[in-house]
Symmetry: C2
Subunit: 184 residues, 2 copies
Amino acid sequence: MIVVLRLGHRPARDKRVTTHVGLVARAFGADGMLIADVRDEEVERSLRRVVRSWGGDFFVRSGVNWKEEIERWKGAGGKVVHLTMYGIPVSKVIGELRGENLMVVVGASKVPSEVFGISDYNVAIGNQPHSEVAALAVFLDRLFEGRELDLEFPGWKMKVAPSERGKLVIRRRMPQRPSASEQR
Amino acid sequence: MIVVLRLGHRPARDKRVTTHVGLVARAFGADGMLIADVRDEEVERSLRRVVRSWGGDFFVRSGVNWKEEIERWKGAGGKVVHLTMYGIPVSKVIGELRGENLMVVVGASKVPSEVFGISDYNVAIGNQPHSEVAALAVFLDRLFEGRELDLEFPGWKMKVAPSERGKLVIRRRMPQRPSASEQR
């Protein structure tokens, strides 16, 4: 189980970046995303819309208390990995993280200093300033050793057929539920 | 030489995502970024500020004509790689791209269909919807086989010392230019 915890989301500024974090979490094999402190139904809706079309059962929940979530996760035996440009190189720790239940914490600009202490690992995807979206993607790509790019998402209505030129999308009608008259 | 070409930037909506694209380009070893069609001095300024503090000579230029840039690049023998969820798997082509001069094209939501035809490669970082920021990061990480995370950025004023807890930043005063009196 891999859950992403997004800290510091400001609905006025961060909608698109937080949505990208959620899309990356889903596409790269995480099970869900929690957004700390604030509710943002717009971000939740746009992620759920993607899940409905493209499949899988990725979940999203906003407005959680980050400290409680981290403590609960650790209490249940999971590990907490905070992605930060100040941390130790991903290559040094990725081996011991495979197969664990991970909460992957990504911040917006400012992260409470407490997070550095409460996390089991502070991990850097390079020590240059860049993007939490990129950090999460590369972390999961390393964790799953590239296999996440071939994941199937059950229940898809749309699916890409890879092609050298142009866009090929396969669309599937959902199996019809029996109507009331048929059920009788 | 690796240059990122950002298409479809809308200054009102995309400032932060385009800035993330630029930061990722720099941090993951590209030489510069071109932003098509519109000038955005705010994005340029914030990227140059990062270069001044953290080093290297990453360049950014906005308001370019994308078609001219692509044609000039190809005319000079470079290859054009368009990152798109509709393309062929990155693992199939990454080997033949190493060592080439690459223009890496990333779009915002809508990309003109012409781009699929004019590019030498349409490459997918997975075929699920996610983020151009993530796609660029994983592409460059695969291209450079992870070595980009150890890049040095000459001329840095700030540099992170990786640490297990907290933030360690090394600051360096620039060598002083000789003053007018010393020069005499």
